[in-house]
Symmetry: none
Amino acid sequence: MTEASTSAASGRRASRGRIDKRQAILEAAFTVFAREGYANACVKVIAAEAGVAKPTVYNHLSDKANLFRHAIEAASDTAMAQNLAVVGRLATPGDDLRAALEDVGDRLLLCYSSDESWALRRLIYAESARFPDLLDVVRGGGPTNRVTEALADRLARLALDGRLRLSDPAQAAEQYIALLTGPMEERSRFGTEQVPADEQRRLVRAAVHTFLQAFGTGAADSAGSANAQGIVKGS
Amino acid sequence: MTEASTSAASGRRASRGRIDKRQAILEAAFTVFAREGYANACVKVIAAEAGVAKPTVYNHLSDKANLFRHAIEAASDTAMAQNLAVVGRLATPGDDLRAALEDVGDRLLLCYSSDESWALRRLIYAESARFPDLLDVVRGGGPTNRVTEALADRLARLALDGRLRLSDPAQAAEQYIALLTGPMEERSRFGTEQVPADEQRRLVRAAVHTFLQAFGTGAADSAGSANAQGIVKGS
Amino acid sequence: MTEASTSAASGRRASRGRIDKRQAILEAAFTVFAREGYANACVKVIAAEAGVAKPTVYNHLSDKANLFRHAIEAASDTAMAQNLAVVGRLATPGDDLRAALEDVGDRLLLCYSSDESWALRRLIYAESARFPDLLDVVRGGGPTNRVTEALADRLARLALDGRLRLSDPAQAAEQYIALLTGPMEERSRFGTEQVPADEQRRLVRAAVHTFLQAFGTGAADSAGSANAQGIVKGS
Amino acid sequence: MTEASTSAASGRRASRGRIDKRQAILEAAFTVFAREGYANACVKVIAAEAGVAKPTVYNHLSDKANLFRHAIEAASDTAMAQNLAVVGRLATPGDDLRAALEDVGDRLLLCYSSDESWALRRLIYAESARFPDLLDVVRGGGPTNRVTEALADRLARLALDGRLRLSDPAQAAEQYIALLTGPMEERSRFGTEQVPADEQRRLVRAAVHTFLQAFGTGAADSAGSANAQGIVKGS
DNA sequence: GATGAATGAGGGTTCATTCAT
DNA sequence: TATGAATGAACCCTCATTCAT
């Protein structure tokens, strides 16, 4: 075997492995940062978790701070994609708008409740003061959160279609998200404990109920969820 | 001045000094933890900020972890008291319920937007996994947040008075808080930047608007704020 | 009650308590030093063990080093007195010299094997380099060990009486002690473990046997212990 | 010089360097521990003495306690080897058994009196309570001291050859060692001061004299040393 | 490119000792 | 005299980072 072929092969393998290795490092980094927090996490442990030597981490990602940023970015991208996919479902809401909003709410909360998602938020919350650029990462690069934006788009469309009554889709989207996720923080003890599925569903129904009270047209409600506040009509 | 009075005075000064010193340490600790995060903060700096020697910190608060807990608790108590005072204003809502809710909203957001408040939330968020008991501290010791609870009490009273329409006051309170604070997180970049006062007010009005759409009776609205969504009737 | 009588009473009580307190401190010090070693022991713990405040320790004994010296001295004096008492028994050896030597050997080993005795030796051994004056303390103040000296006196008397055959009583005394205690060190793992009583007795008999082989006259042996080496005569 | 030889050389130098460094650390550690005692010794000083940075010490030996154990072990191994070599000389005792025993005694005492040897014993004595496993190290790993054992072997052989009269070689060995080393402890002030060579020799002769009185056959003594007690026959 | 080894800097914690009461 | 409180000095250990291979 010639030296050239060797180096080519190993080069390809290497560059293939290079990407894999970088990926492994980033994943390990997120795992460890999530578990230990930024300052407490140590590069040695990350390297071990990734199955590489410590200097390799530095070769790929120069810095602990850089490593952190990229790990957060990767995790954030994954979460963002999931969220956007969920919001995308509102493009075809079907006849029952309430059901659609509840379906999206359920799914969003599922994403929101995952360990990774909580870890991500914890890290960003914790380090936002020391890593100001992290916010742009989590928002998807824009000045406003891309998920809220996408949701606002959908809501605007629904308003145009006469199925919602609202003038500021961005604000409505924000409130939808707030109603959905706000009550989750303490109930899950900031992601430390699991919120029972039925409690989550009740939360979603209540959120959508309030949302539709504020922004609905009163037309397309499904009867079953009409009363998340538990008010028995006629009583 | 007699010797007795002297020693009494200096005795008082001494014991005052002890308490003052502990207070100073806790305040310095919160300041530093807020600025640096738990793991990054170093006791030496805290001691310097408090104007005492490092061992004094350990004499008073045994541990870095303990120091953290107590600093958080102190800050949390302060914040809690402020919040409860604000919520207490709903005991005498006046004729204009919307105005009262907006007033409370404004004031809550004022508390919520303070640097200390953000720092507190950031720290709790960040360390909740490593300090599980922190949550009980911030909730005021009970199983549910005392602020939400107090608010729920007020809302229940208003419902009894026929000025709100709701069956689950705790849930309504949660949603009120969520509508109020949820949109603040990203707008303030997690407390990193100041949200302009008028934007805050708009947020409050929008939150109260949605809240009243969901839980109001339609009776006692003030005309001026009727339209937080910005829909100008008749235009 | 007059002020004078009060102060007199408390004065007497105080000076009484003063001595008690000093005693308590020294005992506590020895206990702690024995348990932790000199460098590891901390004055705070000693004070606690003595039931006094830390500065009181310093009032009484100025220094950690001084405290150590005095604690060692006190313990050493106790041990020395016990040893001397035991050696004194050789003044009236009775008819059976072997029995007398074995009796003294047993008793010396009992002293030697006590926890305090081991602790004392460990401390002196450990710190002899850093506290050179400790040696004089343990020897009882003289240039040679007072116990060995006293023993030498007894042996000399026995030699004069024709019951031993030796010209250098000090050397014989040293060898007696060496034969007695030397084998104990490793068997007891330096005082860490208890040596069974029967093993100790065997040791003593063997030591006395060897001693009498070297220095005995062959006259006054008791038949029973004649054979510590286990040689069955006639076989 | 070719590149290959260079890298080979430097490679060897490197790995040699690693071992050398570990060796240097262990030696420095023993030196410092010997001088300061375990608790008083500080790793920083050890590192300096070894010519490495502090973390290097931790890289090689994880712990202060571990460092101590290994340093003791290394020193102990050295001492053990020397002792065993000396005892080995008894395999070929020559005609004059007394001379052989005195020769071995002299040499054993030489080992025993070295600074390292004293330091070793002091450290083991001092720390045996806090490092119980140290005893196994110093004994050479077995349940009984390997030196005593080896000596017992030799004595047993001599007994078989009819040159000694003893039934318990282990006990005889113990006593030989005790007679030899026991009187050294205080004379050297626990290794703090040098015992004059002639005094050592006298000690050895006395020890061997007593030993042979107890276990000798009376046959092969050299006339010159017959009288370590200084009894001039006929006077 | 990947790694074992080394290091400067720094952090939490403890301790002997001293004031002020 | 006895003590609660305070402190300067160290010490063990860890970590991010860099060489040399």
